[in-house]
C-alpha cells in the first residue's frame, strides 16, 4: 500500500486556480523530485502536504488516514530560508525537538538531561559535518551550513515524510554537491519519504527516485488564472547519474523561467 495518496486535490484563491486534479500515489521511502515553472504551485503543494494550508477540494491520506489538519511531527520540513532558529546555537537547535517532545511545560532540559541530549545530538551533527561549530549561532554560519543544520533538526522527530522546498536553491554548485551526498545518505539511513522541490532538473534527476513535473494542462489565454497546474509528467528514475537527452531541453526551459506561459509543455515520452 502506498504511504501517501493524493486524490483529486485542488487549490483556489478566489477565482485564481493554482492546482487542480492532482492525483498521486507515493510509496514509502520514495524520493520525489518536484519541478515546474515558477509560480505554478509547487510550494503550494508542499504546504498542503504539511497541512499549513487546507485544499479547496480533494484529500491527502497518509497510511490510509486523512492527514492531520495542522503541521505535525510526522512531516518534517526544510525551507529555502528561515529554517533554523536564530536565537539558538547549533546544538540547541538540534536538541530543541527532543526538549519539545519530552518536556511539555518547560520545553527545555536542564543539567544531566541536557548533557545527555547534547551527546545524542552530537552524532547527527557529526553526520552533517557541523561538530566544529556546535556552539555557534546561525548568523555566523554559511548558507550551506544553515541548511545542513535545518536538515539535522528536521530529522530528530523521525518524520515519515520530509518536505524540502528548494533547500539548496541558494547554494553554490560545490556546496550543493556535498549537500546531495548528505541528503542521500541520510535518506537511506532514516528510511523516510522525501518530496523535494527544485528548479534544477539535473538535481532532481540525480537525487530522486521519481520525477514529478507540475504544469498546466489547459490554458486559456483570455483568463490565465482559470486553470490550475497538475502533475503532467511522472517519471520513475532508475538511479542514473546522467540526464536523458530528451530532458536536457526541458532543463533549459525550466531554467529560463518564467517567460514560458504560452501553454502546456509538450508532454515528454
Amino acid at each position: 500500500m502506498s504511504l501517501i495518496s493524493v486524490r483529486n486535490l485542488s487549490v483556489r484563491y478566489g477565482d485564481f486556480t493554482v492546482l487542480e486534479r492532482v492525483n498521486l500515489e507515493v510509496a514509502q521511502q520514495e524520493f520525489c523530485s518536484i519541478v515546474g515553472a515558477s509560480g505554478c504551485g509547487k510550494s503550494t503543494f508542499l504546504r498542503l502536504l504539511l497541512s499549513e494550508e487546507q485544499p479547496s477540494g480533494g484529500e491527502i491520506r497518509i497510511d490510509g488516514a486523512p492527514i492531520a489538519k495542522e503541521p505535525q511531527a510526522d512531516r518534517g520540513v526544510v525551507f529555502q530560508r528561515y529554517s533554523v532558529f536564530p536565537h539558538l546555537s547549533v546544538i540547541e537547535n538540534v536538541i530543541l525537538p527532543m526538549e519539545l517532545e519530552a518536556s511539555a511545560f518547560c520545553g527545555r532540559f536542564f543539567g544531566a538531561r541536557r548533557r545527555r541530549a547534547k551527546e545524542e545530538a552530537a552524532h547527527l551533527l557529526e553526520r552533517v559535518g557541523l561538530s566544529h561549530v556546535r556552539d555557534a549561532y546561525p548568523k555566523t554560519l554559511s548558507g550551506g551550513m544553515q541548511q545542513r543544520l535545518a536538515i539535522a533538526q528536521a530529522l530528530i522527530p523521525k518524520p515519515k515524510v520530509l518536505l524540502l522546498d528548494e533547500p539548496f536553491g541558494a547554494l553554490d554548485p560545490g556546496t550543493r554537491q556535498t549537500m546531495h551526498e548528505i541528503i542521500l545518505s541520510l535518506w537511506e539511513e532514516e528510511k523516510m519519504t522525501i518530496f523535494m522541490v527544485t528548479h534544477d532538473l539535473k538535481e532532481g534527476f540525480k537525487l530522486g527516485t521519481r520525477l514529478l513535473v507540475f504544469d498546466k494542462l489547459r490554458w486559456d489565454p483570455q483568463a490565465p488564472e482559470a486553470y490550475g497546474a497538475t502533475i503532467t509528467y511522472d517519471l520513475p528514475i532508475d538511479r542514473r547519474d546522467v540526464l536523458p537527452p530528451e530532458l536536457e531541453a526541458k532543463a533549459e526551459a525550466l531554467n529560463k523561467e518564467p517567460s514560458r506561459n504560452e501553454g502546456p509543455l509538450n508532454a515528454l515520452p
Binding site: L50, E52, Y82, P86, L100, Y137, P138, P157
Partner: protein, 273 residues
C-alpha cells in the same frame, strides 16, 4: 581624500568632535551668565557656577532642616520608584498582550482594533480622570505612565511578533511544538530584544508623564521640586535638577542598550544604537 562623505575622524578626533558641542554650550552659558550678572548681581535667570554648587550642596549633601532628610535623594527615589513600577507594569502587560495579538489570530481579531483606538487617546487628557478615580496618591501617577506607555508597547511588540517568518512557526510545529512551547521557546526569546528597545523608546514619554503628574499633585519627586521652586525663579535649583534627570535617563538608556547587546548576542545586524 576629496569628498566630504569620505572623510572620517580618527579615534581622538571622534572624542574631540563629540565633546565640542558640549564645550560650546557651556562656554555660551558662562559668557551669557557673566554678562547678566555684571549688570545685575541679583539676576536669577542665569545663575553663576558658584550658586549651582551651593544649591547642589544644600539639596544633595545637607539634611533638610525641617525633615532631616536629603531632598535630592528623596526626590530621586520617589520619582524612580514611580517610573520603575509604571514601566514594569507597562512592559509586562505589553509583552503578554503583544505576543497574544501578534501570534494568535483569535486574540488579534478581538483586541487589535481596541488597542489601535486606545493608543490614540492622549494620556494627559485623561490625567484628571485618573486623579478623580485613584485619588492624588501614588496610584494615579503610576497609572498615567502605564496608560501612556502600554499601547505603544503592545503595538510595537505585536508587530514584531507578527513579522517573525511564518516558516519558523511552521517548522516549530513540525518539530512537535505546542502553542505554549512555541510561545516560550520560539517567540518570546526572539521578542525580548525588541522589548528592550521598545522600553528604551518609552523612557522619554514615561519621564514626560511622570513629571506632568508630579507637577500637578505630589509632595516629593523630581518634577514636583522643579515646579515648586519655579515660584521663586530658582534657576539654581531647576537647572541642576534638569541636568540630573537627563543624566538619569541617559544612564538607564545606556544600561538597557548594553544589556541588550550582551544578552542577545545571537542577533544579527545593528549594534551600538
Amino acid at each position: 581624500m576629496g569628498r566630504l562623505i569620505n572623510r572620517r575622524p580618527g579615534r581622538a578626533g571622534q572624542v574631540l568632535l563629540g565633546a565640542l558641542p558640549f564645550i560650546l554650550l557651556a562656554a555660551a552659558y558662562l559668557m551669557a551668565s557673566d554678562a547678566r550678572l555684571a549688570v545685575n548681581p541679583n539676576d536669577k535667570l542665569l545663575p553663576s557656577v558658584q550658586s549651582f554648587v551651593d544649591a547642589i550642596n544644600r539639596l544633595a549633601f545637607q539634611p533638610d532642616p525641617r525633615k532631616g532628610t536629603y531632598i535630592l535623594w528623596d526626590d530621586t527615589l520617589a520619582s524612580l520608584l514611580r517610573l520603575g513600577i509604571g514601566l514594569s507594569v507597562a512592559t509586562g502587560f505589553g509583552l503578554v498582550a503583544g505576543v497574544a495579538i501578534g501570534l494568535l489570530p483569535l486574540a488579534r481579531s478581538a483586541f487589535a482594533p481596541v488597542v489601535a483606538v486606545l493608543s490614540m487617546v492622549p494620556p494627559l487628557a485623561i490625567l484628571p480622570i485618573l486623579f478623580i478615580v485613584f485619588g492624588l496618591g501614588e496610584v494615579a501617577k503610576v497609572m498615567l505612565i502605564v496608560i501612556g506607555v502600554t499601547p505603544f508597547m503592545v503595538r510595537d511588540l505585536s508587530m514584531s511578533v507578527a513579522t517573525l517568518p511564518r516558516e519558523q512557526l511552521v517548522k516549530a510545529q513540525t518539530l512537535g511544538a505546542s502553542t505554549w512551547q512555541i510561545v516560550t521557546r520560539v517567540v518570546l526569546p526572539q521578542t525580548l530584544p525588541r522589548l528592550v528597545s521598545a522600553l528604551r523608546l518609552s523612557l522619554g514619554p514615561a519621564w514626560l508623564f511622570l513629571i506632568s503628574s508630579e507637577a500637578i499633585a505630589a509632595t516629593e519627586g523630581l518634577g514636583y521640586r522643579i515646579f515648586l521652586v519655579r515660584r521663586y525663579l530658582a534657576m539654581d535649583v531647576i537647572l541642576p535638577y534638569v541636568a540630573w534627570i537627563t543624566l538619569l535617563a541617559f544612564m538607564i538608556d545606556w544600561a538597557l542598550r548594553h544589556l541588550s547587546d550582551r544578552a542577545f548576542d545571537w542577533q544579527p545586524g545593528e549594534r551600538g544604537l
